[in-house]
Amino acid sequence: MTVKVHRFNEEKQINTIEKFEVKKENSTVLDTLIDIKEQQDSSLTFRCGCSSGVCGSCAVRVNGVEKLACKTNINENDLIEPLKYVKVIKDLVVDLAFEKEVLTRPKAYIQKYKEEEITPKDEKLIDRQSNCILCQSCYSSCPVFEVNKDFLGPYSLSRVLRYVNDKKEHEEKEKIDLIQTNGIWDCTLCGNCTIVCPQFIDPKTDIMNLRMKSLKYGYTDPNAMSFGGGMDFGFNPNGF
């Protein structure tokens, strides 16, 4: 079986698609990458960790779609590439330095604890969002980054909602303030993030929820006033 991997090595000036013949069928993308590395080319570079879909380190694009390598079956002629909109360090390894920035900018953490009775329903409200494994799949799938590199991105905003909806958080308003610029209104609601999330988180709906909350706090949709401002009616540049 043939698989193709996008190789990149700045030091050796390599930037090419390389084909590998692999024996293993019925195995995962990660197993295949490991097999190539151990048996054919030990310079093949990729991240991996738990191999059970929870550490979030092995996200790549398989035939253009973001996947966790450890949970995705390999098929003939598959093309494995690094994630998009981030700097590639080597082969499938991308620079994750931006993650800290997109999480700290909107203060995606508890700022001030307040004691509240938490019901199972309250906890359920933030259950899905707090399953995020920061695999970066949604970020790579998001077309907004084509035009706006400063966009906070899907996982950052889902994490903001997780803390805004957390009854323990006393300062939820400030988070709402911080996501108005390069945040919720920049999203095109294309839903790519929701499709690719391996944890079944739905950042698109989370962003719509944050928009509703923002309206309640007196913010207005900056797109609503401008011509063709139908971004939030589900306009989708990718046609999904």
Binding site: E38, T45, G49, E117, D127, N131, D166, K168
Partner: protein, 533 residues
């Protein structure tokens, strides 16, 4: 130069970092992976604490832990951790870990094997994931500095004082010296040595423990490796103990139960292993729990079973096998998480704090990493404030640089990846659930041979930038050395106790109710038994 340097960014490392930061210290976290990629994310079932005296008591928690430790648990430390467990949960709850709630709006708790009560607080079956991410969020809030994707190469120790570390920046290939007043090792265990037979992350290779040993640290109880009874067949993906805690059965292909599912992990794993040795398949039967209960209590397991095996656990039997899961042994510490080297702490799974002894209770490891992370972080920070900046005389940096440079020139005649798989298989077969003198000796012989052959191995990737091949080759050297220590410890303990089961000495022997200590004097390997105090 920093006040407190934390090596490792799992639950123990981040707990240590946060607590040191709360004390007002400058904290730096150096980590081989990104923080949220750590193995803590894999912990599913829960974290033990008595939070409601009406149904449970701290004394029961202490007794359960002591019983599971088979006389190798340190009673004073266990008491301390169990008594403070409620505060540990309160802290996690207040920094926003979203613990599941019960119908009375209290933190929900579930039953775990070996526990007399429902004592494990949980967040569905993503407890570890939600804890590590919440800790990470809090680290960002506290502006804690990270050096991600650095592998530790050495600890600088002069006159029995730790002064800093040497580490390789994986991304750039540059080797750096980082000095610190206090160093906390929080690098995880060594379950990853059992390649192909482990639930552990590919990153859990134990090199920091071996580096600590080479730097003069005492290691303790290294022969005690816990095998999780239920992992998905072949892929060894963990099926949490919550599956049995919530009422799942272990059955053979004809649907017959053969073991009390809530016995401690070592007993259950051995019972399963015996069936497998007789070529009988073993399954986890969750069908009677019903879809609603499964979705509520173990959504992750349902998903993993489907994704990895195509099995719907509410309808079908789930084939399982045991795999290396947790390592009780590690760097010996005292009650303040200090090692025998000044300024050097260890916490979490890389350490041997005296809590788990011969066998760990489910739900006690998350408790240990958070509790001892706090102890280490606070103690190190308070002491750092009183300490002078370290000054280093030796030239460890240059030594490590040239050692690393030499690795590029190794001939690469033997594929070390193949040996790594072979090591995993040998360890699982001969240093696994059932052990005996002959098997252990044969394993040791193999390991020693591979250690001799290390210079014939090598790397194919000669680049500097993000050389994972080099990183794995460095890890592998430590894996071999650590395996050697483990087998020696296992050979030396001529009895069966907890997770260490010897077919040739199947009974617990009072003479061995002591902890194993391994250390070096003048590069001579020393092994002795020490009373548990």
């Amino acid at each position: 130069m920093v006040d407190v340097l934390v090596v490792g960014s799992g639950g123990a490392g981040l707990s240590a970092a946060l607590n040191a930061k709360y004390e007002g210290c400058e904290v730096l976290v150096l980590s081989k992976t990104h923080p949220t990629h750590s193995q803590t994310s894999q912990a599913q079932a829960g974290i033990n604490a008595v939070i409601n005296d009406q149904n449970d008591s701290v004394d029961c928690h202490i007794q359960d832990t002591l019983k599971s430790a088979h006389k190798l648990g340190n009673e004073t430390i266990i008491k301390d951790v169990c008594q403070n467990a409620k505060d540990t949960i309160t802290w996690l709850d207040e920094i926003a870990v979203p613990f599941s709630r019960n119908e009375h709006n209290q933190i929900a708790q579930r039953q775990m094997g070996g526990s007399t009560n429902k004592r494990a607080c949980y967040s569905s079956d993503y407890t570890g994931l939600k804890i590590i991410h919440t800790l990470y969020d809090n680290c960002l809030k506290q502006d804690i500095q990270f050096l991600n994707e650095y592998i530790l190469l050495n600890i600088i120790v002069e006159n029995n004082e730790a002064k800093g570390v040497i580490a390789l920046d994986i991304t750039t290939g540059v080797i750096k010296e980082i000095l610190a007043k206090k160093i906390i090792l929080a690098s995880g265990g060594y379950g990853g040595l059992y390649t192909g037979h482990t639930t552990n992350s590919y990153a859990t290779t134990g090199e920091v423990i071996n580096i600590a040993f080479n730097a003069g640290c005492k290691l303790s109880n290294m022969e005690f490796v816990q095998f999780h009874p239920t992992t998905l067949i072949n892929s060894n993906v963990l099926v949490s103990e919550s599956a049995r805690g919530e009422g799942g059965y272990l059955v053979t292909c004809d649907g017959v139960r053969f073991v009390d599912e809530l016995r401690p992990r070592d007993e259950v794993a051995r019972a399963i292993s015996k069936k497998l040795q007789n070529r009988e398949k073993v399954y986890l039967d969750l069908r009677h729990l019903g879809l609603e209960k499964i979705n509520e209590a173990m959504p992750q397991e349902r998903r993993l079973a489907y994704e990895f095996l195509g099995i719907k656990i509410e309808e079908e039997l789930l084939p399982i096998n045991p795999a290396a899961h947790y390592t009780m042994g590690g760097i010996q510490t005292n009650e303040a998480a200090l090692t025998n080297i000044e300024n050097l702490y260890a916490c979490g799974e890389c350490a041997q704090h005296g809590i788990h002894g011969a066998n760990r209770l489910g739900g006690n490891s998350l408790l240990e990493i958070i509790a001892f992370g706090k102890i280490a972080g606070e103690h190190a920070a308070k002491e750092a404030k009183k300490s002078m900046n370290p000054s280093v005389i030796s030239n460890q940096l240059e030594i490590n640089k040239s050692e690393c440079e030499n690795l590029y020139d190794y001939p690469n005649e033997i594929n070390f990846y193949e040996i790594k798989h072979e090591l995993g298989r040998i360890l699982f077969e001969k240093v696994g659930l059932f052990r005996n003198e002959e098997d252990l000796s044969a394993a040791l012989e193999k390991i020693e041979l591979w250690q001799e052959q290390y210079t014939k191995m090598g790397i194919g990737d000669k680049s500097k930038c993000y050389n994972k091949n080099l990183v794995e080759f460095i890890e592998f050297k430590h894996m071999l050395e650590l395996s050697n220590i483990i087998v020696n410890c296992a050979l030396n303990r001529k009895e069966s106790r907890g997770a260490h089961f010897r077919n040739d000495f199947p009974k617990e022997n009072e003479k061995y109710a002591k902890q194993t200590i391994a250390y070096e004097i003048n590069q001579e390997f020393q092994l002795e038994f020490e009373d548990v105090v």
